[in-house]
Symmetry: C2
Subunit: 367 residues, 2 copies
Amino acid sequence: MPSGPRGGSAIDAAIDDSDAVAFVAIVRGDDPTGRYLTGVELGVETVYVRAAGETHLRVPSTVDVPDVSGASVRVDDKPAGKAAAAILANYAEGGTVLAPRTIPHDAALHLESAGYELTSTTAVRDARAVKDADEREAIEAVQRAATRGIERAASILADATVEDDTLVWADAPLSTERLRRQVNTTLAIEGVDTAGATDVTAGTRGEAGSAVELAPGEPLVVSVAPRGPAGYRGALARTFVVDADGGWERRAHVACDAARDVALVEANVGADAGFLGSEIRAETAAFGFSMADEVTRDVGGGIGLAVREAPKLDGDTELVAGNVLRIRAAITHGDHGRVELTDVLVVGDDGPQFVGDAPTGLDPSRW
Amino acid sequence: MPSGPRGGSAIDAAIDDSDAVAFVAIVRGDDPTGRYLTGVELGVETVYVRAAGETHLRVPSTVDVPDVSGASVRVDDKPAGKAAAAILANYAEGGTVLAPRTIPHDAALHLESAGYELTSTTAVRDARAVKDADEREAIEAVQRAATRGIERAASILADATVEDDTLVWADAPLSTERLRRQVNTTLAIEGVDTAGATDVTAGTRGEAGSAVELAPGEPLVVSVAPRGPAGYRGALARTFVVDADGGWERRAHVACDAARDVALVEANVGADAGFLGSEIRAETAAFGFSMADEVTRDVGGGIGLAVREAPKLDGDTELVAGNVLRIRAAITHGDHGRVELTDVLVVGDDGPQFVGDAPTGLDPSRW
């Protein structure tokens, strides 16, 4: 399991490259950047300063002091930018300070008025986009749990019977919400967090939470993106149809399955991430679906401590070994609903590989 | 269940008060502000602009367009500040624009270079701090589920037997991790999200995830903070001891129970939030615990879409009717571990009231 702070050497290299004196980040409590940089869940707004190979943190006085390996932690309630400037004063009275371009505006103004010149850096975002072996292992573990969750849904749907055009399981009508709770129970037993990301949609009849009763013949999308104990996310979505009549959803499923396979051909080291995204969409459309109205625009992107992180599948980023991608193929139609297949894929020197071996089929009894 | 956008009228009033032309926020995917302002889970960085009583959103082209009640949604991939300026251009060519003080620095610079003068506002933070009836109902519902989760832990601990100084349940040693998974299973069945916030700690022997085996005589803290379907959080922590010998943990528990009751006396409309926090700490210390080393500094604060939001229990905020507070009393000792009681409390015109009726005792068989 990944533990301890990460990103320090990437930050030090960026500081050297820019002749800067330090790197500053203001990390909100729930920002995965904090977990990455410190190795712990901070829970509160934290000032992170890296200078001369040393890490300093500042937390507010309303929390107990966290124990962060290799960092000195101070406690005060100054505005974040002033707290950062107070730490920087021990290293230099002015000069260039690196920060993410999204550093809070008030903190940037405080740092500038303390005599530091801000330059934006993508060092942390770029470091996070390349996963080491421990991080990949954490993603593989949470993806195994995700597979168990979808497997549970498949098993319930395979056991369901049809009565009056409604699916019935364990002597009661099966609703999106009931199926969602069963999937989440499995995720809890597997020891991962549901992360508010489990959704079950039934045909065109609304999202999870509204407890729509499931019917035969309509596409049921079961989607999970749990968080493992070290914070890393998985992502898996499958579409099932009970008593499929072989119409729209079969054709959409064939298209999504083919689009998913595009990643195995195109997600190579050195490939253009934007091109990969376009190719997934183009392959989906090639089966006769409208690029404008039916093919999803969300075909995935980097996944790690966040479900959406670098690299994006737009723009002209080049894929590198260690990128881990969410790959999503989906088609939506106003009369039929949605068909979707989502997986996690690792970009490696020996080619791209899906994490785990979840089947892709529409028939829940084939799982 | 709370649904639809919130905060619009508070923003409009702030715009009027400042003779501003608009309000701008850049909302990250996982920022609860986005859920508050739009009523939906956006999942991606979204530009929010409110002007002349109208709401505009901008999302990136890599996602499907969200359906947000009462808002017009546009899609492009400009930097957030430029996208906001493009929307503002339809209303005014310059003038004052309100924004949270933490607006990303790059977006602030783009807006300024487009001719707008930024003024910071706390309108959204302040609006979120006062919960309406629907929001309070959502918090009450998730707190009921939280109580079921802790109840499950109590029931397992009450059934556990002691063998060789280890707790045994269902024919196997009971660990922090095993108990945590059981609590999370109950939360899943109740239909709420575990939100990565379920922790079980045993005496001084490390945090959840390390799967420490539970022993009799040591304080076991079970802490949950689930998220309900509308995004609102609960918070509940209880401390149990199996076969307590009446030592440190009993004394610490009496202190925490008394400190918790302070909220029922002090959390009144018009009271100083910082004073409430100090009084909770002072009451804990009054039982002979060190304010510097043993009494927690995290005695709570506002709770809603985030576990930590306004009002803070430091500074000189005045409590108002509709504030919902997490109230936490905790004592940590290097040789004994931690004793903690956490609850949610509503500040009302007829006085403060804890949400739910979870017992506070140390003995799990009394639940």
